[in-house]
């Protein structure tokens, strides 16, 4: 059986950043296993700009951003197994994968980093009534066809869902000669970034219909029309508000789902909110030695934060592997749960061991609705240690606060850390 100190599952932005971090500080063997024939994951098809503002202080395209990480990973001496699909991760970290070139390969890993990314929620999961013709695509599938294959999947388009990929594709389809009639969003707010609404819809006069959904798909062989209805406060379509849009294409941008089938097989505990692993401050899952980062952990909106998070996971995976190799037992943890309250849907990590945390620990979170003039507050067992005023918080934008280790240690015995929103 092959051995690697750290095995990273997935060669997208998360996997690459984790691998680079895992190579730092010591000569460990780090292997990235990627199912596609090339690295960089979904960034390959994200040819628009806006990547890297935080990391590089410049606006890069997706492939440009990824290329920088890919080059760093190669320079750092990371090994790659491409065109290889991981089939199984055992809870003692034996990774089994299959490829055309190598057949079935087993790798004993000192530590594993999960970086498989996410997939798009398909139409079927929404139960949109009607026929099932050609012409219904997830936005990402359409993006691949247009940007990689150079092929147009439609000419008259309705988009359901205002996730970022849907917004990006509204502009992309328009630029390539199609007409986008509208973007319908079930919620009273968009799930996408503000900048994408401005640059991809407003600049092209594409209407964003909030509190609307698709209630019917017409066309037996190919989409002929879709019906869009307004919804009430319970998100139920309001009879009589239907508008029929003749079109040949329905693009869906209705949510991203972390791809955790392998994690589940390995026995990793998953969060019902994020649909990703439950992790501690080291981004370690419930299975010792298995770490997680990027969109498989929770869905991000900016790749820069993916890279930051993945570097943390990679460094901790390396430390775990070092300890394994040296036969050292890691100190027993005292993990304090982090509670999300007052409109905050979740936090990552979901628990923190003050003794093990770094001097500053970034806690990422999302809110469940639109909140104006609030303060993000952190409590240690009822004692407030942090209060940050925010003009607006929206579900489409990931938020973060930094916790200081000294604050947590100063508190003494600690049972619960709470993140909550309060009136500003």
């Amino acid at each position: 059986m092959r051995h690697a100190d750290v095995v990273v599952i997935g060669g997208g932005p998360a996997g690459l950043a984790a691998a680079i971090a895992a190579r730092q500080g010591a000569d460990r063997s780090v292997l990235v296993i990627e199912r596609d024939v090339k690295l960089d994951g979904i960034l390959n098809q994200c040819i628009h700009n806006g990547f890297g503002l935080i990391t590089f202080n410049e606006e890069l395209t997706g492939p440009e951003y990824a290329a920088r990480f890919e080059q760093r990973a190669r320079e750092a001496g990371v090994d790659f197994l491409l065109d290889s699909m991981v089939l199984d991760i055992s809870n003692d970290r034996v990774v089994t994968c299959v490829s055309a070139g190598h057949g079935l390969v087993q790798v004993q890993a000192g530590a594993v980093v999960l970086a498989m990314g996410c997939r798009e929620r398909p139409r079927g999961a929404l139960n949109i009534p009607g026929f099932r013709p050609a012409g219904v695509y997830t936005a990402g599938t359409a993006q691949r066809l247009v940007n990689i294959e150079g092929l147009m999947p439609g000419r008259e388009v309705v988009i359901l869902g205002s996730g970022d990929i849907g917004l990006i594709m509204a502009r992309r389809m328009t630029l390539e000669g199609a007409h986008v009639a509208c973007v319908a969003e079930l919620m009273p707010f968009s799930g996408g970034l503000k900048r994408n609404i401005v640059q991809c819809l407003d600049d092209f006069q594409i209407p964003l219909l909030l509190s609307h959904t698709v209630t019917r798909v017409e066309g037996e062989k190919r989409v002929e029309a879709v019906w869009v209805s307004e919804v009430d406060e319970h998100l139920r379509p309001i009879p009589g508000t239907e508008v029929r849009y003749p079109c040949d294409t329905l693009l869906l941008s209705v949510g991203l789902l972390p791809e955790n089938e392998l994690s589940r097989q390995a026995g990793v505990e998953l969060s019902r909110v994020t649909r990703g692993p439950v992790v501690n401050e080291s981004l370690e899952t419930s299975v010792p030695g298995i770490f997680a980062c990027g969109n498989v952990l929770h869905v991000h909106d900016l790749v820069d934060y993916v890279s930051q998070e993945a570097a943390v996971a990679g460094a901790h995976a390396a430390a775990f592997a070092d300890a394994q190799a040296a036969g050292r037992e890691l100190a027993a943890a005292h993990e304090v749960p982090v509670e999300a309250a007052g409109g905050i849907r979740y936090t990552v990590p979901q628990s923190i061991d003050p003794a093990r945390m770094p001097d500053r620990l970034t806690v990422r979170f999302r809110v469940g609705g639109v909140y104006e003039h609030r303060a993000v507050c952190v409590y240690l067992d009822g004692e407030r240690i942090l209060r940050r005023k925010r003009d607006i918080l929206v579900p489409g934008q990931m938020e973060q606060v930094d916790l200081r280790r000294e604050d947590l240690l100063a508190h003494g015995t600690l049972d619960k850390i709470t993140l909550t929103l309060e009136e500003a």
């Binding site: 997939r119 139960n127 009607g130 050609a134 092929l151 999947p153 390539e176 037996e220």
Partner: protein, 493 residues
Amino acid sequence: MAEKVYDVAIIGAGVSGCSIARELSRRRGSFVVLEREDDVCCGTTKANSAIVHAGYDAMPGSLMARLNVEGSRLMPGLCEELGVDLANIGSLVVCTDPEARPGLDDLLARGEKNGVEGLRIVERDELRAMEPNIADAAVAALYAPTASIVNPFQLNVALAENATTNGVEFRFDCPVGSVRRGQDGLWHLGVPDGEVVAHVVVNAAGVYADGFHNQVSAQKLTITPRRGQYFVLDTTAGTHVRHTIFAQPTRMGKGVLVSPTTAGNLLVGPTAEDIDDKQGTDTTSEGLDEVRRKSAITVKDVPLRETITSFSGLRAHQPGHDFVIGEVEGAPGFVDCAAIESPGLSASPAVGRMVAGIVTDILGLPQNPSFDGHRDAPVNLERLTPAEWADLIARNPAYGRIVCRCRHISEGQIVDAIHAPLGARSLDAVKRRTEACMGRCQAGFCTPKIMEILAREVPGLAMEDVTKCGPGSGFIVGHDKHLAPAGKGGDAR
């Protein structure tokens, strides 16, 4: 040029038509199957409960009862011979109303009359042990150990492949219009490129069978499309129940079934709505709501949030509620195989035999000594040991390249499906043969890849001409910045 005269022309390449075709290929003769769609398995067969019913449901003495019981007895051997997935999981008809409890005994008696083996009533405690997620209100159930689940796509495809290997001709995209008996005593079928002429016509046209029947007979037949809507849940929900769970029919109507599928999903449905449109395979919010509501009658906590798709299918219902099989009076050589609604899939092996028998009697066809009823099962990676899989990859690396991430279907399997007899030409045809696209991402990732493979493997097929399910269902309408005018490519409007 003299027109070819077939011995038999079969209208419809569903499971009935293909079962008949395969049975006929045991005889020497010239046989052709005419199908309006681009592939086999495009009508009722592709959208049903995928159940091999035990046979207690149909009225004793009916054709339905006889062929169901006979078909379900033949099914295991047939699936073995053709390499089709079948799982004998048994079924439970669950009673949730103590007052309706005697109805189970009636059903048991009816089943025994029909010749169903092993039927028995299970009481509350045993039922709970058999099905931990059974509804709290369940009082007892009729257990039918012979009931099974089958992969209907595989069965239909395998029957057709084996029939064509044994000499049956298939024509796709070939809708039959007029049917008339000529002066020559032969049947003349109008098809897009002219006529098909045959001594015998078999009408296995599903919901369209009445249209053909009524062209040749004064005794009118009316087929009503009865729509059934379903949810398909992810494999994560596939073990929520272990048997096929039916609701006992009551005054309040028929319930829905909850059943595992051979692919490991959970199937919930169907509704039963009589509609006018013979192409009305659309789902409705009312129908899906009904399924959602009724699923809770027999099974608790059905994890409907794990739904990966919903669909609807049409059963070919006629008012007499029995199969209509036989040579039509006053139309010698025109044989109906009509109104094959549930349990039509279960009965299909017996339907094939019966209709082939009728045709053989009419024509006096001799045995086909070279008939070979065996068909190798396609490669199924899940059934291989690691060593066998490694060996397969060493011989053909394409079996190591995973295309469908959700179901782990390799490029090699997709290529096999394309090059098999009557091979796949569209995305849905690949899907039916390989189960690629049937997973939780519902073809999001693999659509472009399968399009590429189809374009590479099918001579003369360009990537932009690949369809979902035949003419008019194209995926691509043009190239970036060069959209074809409407009507070309995707053929949208």
